[in-house]
Symmetry: C2
Subunit: 169 residues, 2 copies
Amino acid sequence: MATTAKTATRSPAARKSKKSTEATTAAVDPIDTTYLQSLMGYNARRAALSIIELFLERLAPYGLKPVDFSVMSTIHHNPGVTSRQLCAALNLLPPNLVGLIQSLEARGLIERKPHPHDGRAVGLHPTDQGIALMQQAEQTASDLEVEKTSRLTAAQRKTLLDLLQKIYL
Amino acid sequence: MATTAKTATRSPAARKSKKSTEATTAAVDPIDTTYLQSLMGYNARRAALSIIELFLERLAPYGLKPVDFSVMSTIHHNPGVTSRQLCAALNLLPPNLVGLIQSLEARGLIERKPHPHDGRAVGLHPTDQGIALMQQAEQTASDLEVEKTSRLTAAQRKTLLDLLQKIYL
DNA sequence: TATTGTTATACTCTATAACTATA
DNA sequence: TATAGTTATAGAGTATAACAATA
């Protein structure tokens, strides 16, 4: 229920033409988002989603979505890593990694080998095919990012990376 | 860039003593994520999620999640805005906004009034209660963000906001 | 014909509890 | 007892197609 009664909905005054500066109900032309733009979380999320949108498009040929890519890349650069370590490094939850790992293995991109020191754990290793795929995929991702940040200088890009890491690391 | 440096650690070693440093199947101690850290999308997403995590906690008392907050804030600063305008400004899809708007209206935080110039559209206005809530919520959000970015100077914070906007705007 | 708001729905992503087998 | 990996499942978030009312 209303309760406010602060704007005259069906009241007197100009009913015909009020297009200059006054309007009874207000019509907004240029939306003001200055407050949201002062929030780091809002900007970081919008920027991330903007990049991810292009990422999805460009990495689709490799059959890799952002999380698949980050997992595969970490295995690529850390042969023998365990899924528990992946979870800690990438901030993922174990149950959500199971299907992902199985999928990568089924595609022949990784291999699961017994862990040398811990019988419970399983070491994840990239196959030759997985390595070849990631070399291309990482190049594609890096290119896409440079393109998406083309309005930034190399120095600004580096600054941005450093500052973002100061927030979450 | 500089992606390598850690890859070929196929040192002979691997004796009986698989407790010292190396092993036949490889056991990874410190995970190398330098490549992912060179990607803007990865860092922006991690930073955003880190902030959002605290956001969810601090804004829970107001019953506002990130999207609710951004919608409510935009209505707060743009009385009379339409849902179509909200979608364009916040990059949301119309169907996903319907239930959200209904919820905010049911809570007495906003009012729907006929649009002055367009019979199809509906103007969204904050109620006094909605305004009061958002004044507090926005203060809480701003405080939380300053806290979360405490490792940054005010100048760095401003730089970060500007650079992020150069990516998605 | 194009647009606003809406319904219904499907798909994805993320989160929680509980089980097993090893340590 | 604690940890690695797994299973099952619930919930939230995001997506597309189609429709009615208005422009």
